[in-house]
Symmetry: C2
Subunit: 338 residues, 2 copies
Amino acid sequence: MADVTLRDVARASGCSVATVSRVLAGTRPVGAETARTVREAAERLGYRPNHVARALRSRSTGIVGLVVPQIANPFFPSLVRELERALHAGGRAVLLADCDDDPETEAARIGELLGRRVDALLLIPADERRSREVVVDAAAQVPLVLLDRGCGPGVADSVAVDNAAGMALVLDHLAATGRRRPCFLGAAGTASAAVERRTAYEAGAAALDPTAPERTVLGDFSVEWGRAAVDRIWPSRPDAVVCANDLIAVGALQRLRQLGADVPGDVAVTGFDDIPLAGLADPALTTVCQPVAELAAEAARLLVRGPAGAAVPGPRRPVRAVRLAPELIVRASSARSS
Amino acid sequence: MADVTLRDVARASGCSVATVSRVLAGTRPVGAETARTVREAAERLGYRPNHVARALRSRSTGIVGLVVPQIANPFFPSLVRELERALHAGGRAVLLADCDDDPETEAARIGELLGRRVDALLLIPADERRSREVVVDAAAQVPLVLLDRGCGPGVADSVAVDNAAGMALVLDHLAATGRRRPCFLGAAGTASAAVERRTAYEAGAAALDPTAPERTVLGDFSVEWGRAAVDRIWPSRPDAVVCANDLIAVGALQRLRQLGADVPGDVAVTGFDDIPLAGLADPALTTVCQPVAELAAEAARLLVRGPAGAAVPGPRRPVRAVRLAPELIVRASSARSS
DNA sequence: AAATTTCCGGAGAACGTTTTCCCGAGGTAG
DNA sequence: CTACCTCGGGAAAACGTTCTCCGGAAATTT
């Protein structure tokens, strides 16, 4: 009972393997009577198609590889979940690989996935430039979409949130609620999210008040850095602390409270990403919510390239870069200063 | 260059496909000279074995299916990560499925994974009893290990933390730091973690002070319930609030602060699981840390059943249930009351 | 009525491995 | 010298699909 094959169904229904395959796959019209008999036999025997054999013959596994830098990074689980959902809706399964933030491991895992003949790759690159080489290599073999973070211009199709728009939302909100002396807690490095959010803040803050001194400090995307950064900027008494992501913001929130600052009375704090932790912080964190489901859906859509053969026409097919608009989630940490 | 097959390597090295397979798989001794030639040719052509063909022939995909109830549940990402790591160490890849806490979806996903001919299944059941039927079905077809939550006795091999031992650690700690009037914020339902932690608390509390009134309230494993539950128990002024997991504890912490209670001065709060959020709460949460890496390693170990053929000898092979000892993480929320 | 097309179904060749046979050469034992 | 292994290697059969030919019958056209 474990292994019923097409042969068995063919024998039981008194016709050929080819016919059974056709009726079950619906790949070619087949006589109504025969079809019924076949379907019945298949049902009765409990036939279940063997995806492995199918994959070998049709050269398509229906599996896409998903490589993430750190599944434990709190922003990724919801993204992974939506990706899994979106891909599954298209009949594709997800082979998961975690590369532990290491570009070399990343390269190795990509190699293995290719060996397993995934139909496509979904990749959140671990490093802006050190991931590049492997990515172009892989992209030459299968459809590949970069997610959340970029990997240099023109390397591959990519989907991400519009970081600049998100930062603009934050700055508008702060201005509208009377904040006048913001500062920015960002991340150094060349990761696209870090760069985009940083430059968007600088542009927006300058537009708001060209005469204001610019207060920006850069570290990494962590709670610890958020805490430490507060000590650097608090002496200048900003009335708003704009953070490059939620982890930094949570750290800032903790340290500000320790220092006896009133949030949001004395100072507003904002984050970015809207990880689950953001709503649970105290006070709850105003942040920019990434349209995770849409990002996933868009990525899934980009994965299907034209009808197979069209995959390798021009080596310089134009690269598509999708940017989706985020949404501002206003919570207690930026309530209007009275 | 995309598809170099054994045939190509054979042709290039002037020997037969069989020989090439043998030398590359190392499945049978082969002449030193020939081996060298073959390896050289393979290297030169950039041969990469086709896992799909291999799987078809050898009836083993090297893929294990992992079904989780909700990847976004904050306890799972770290577990998934360690599982992926442990399995990858054994040369196996992970096909991920999220069933959205729904037993029917769970059943469907398990079916698909079996259709894809996974070698084994790793399952965190969505529901203690409604998942049972599918599980026994699946377990009859491939090695299957239940993780974190049980699914009725004797259904399949399982790996989980020793909830009773964890709860005992908590109670000992509270007793040692002078807490005398604990209460318990638990979860209703039959999920094994909920039941075990609840009964362990009751047994431990009774042993501590048989005359103490028992204060236990039951809801679900959520922050919201933690907040709500505090309103129910705070009037009786416990000096310790023991929670069935970290989410409940975080909610309790928030509500207690709102009510003006001093944690840990007036009352200690403890959690369970040690999710990332626990260390970031304010005050940082004392909790029970699950040995995630060991759980994963043990699960991976259980998956390899005797040498293939031994898989279906007695229909009533004894079921193995591994329980691993947790560790108490003492943080600020239970500092000794002075 | 003959010629052409359409329709349904079967035989069998792929897909890229692994593995079972089989064969010949050389070595050892009898 | 014959008989029997061992050893290195090849031919070919699986594994379970899909898909391309092909052939015959029925339906349509000329």
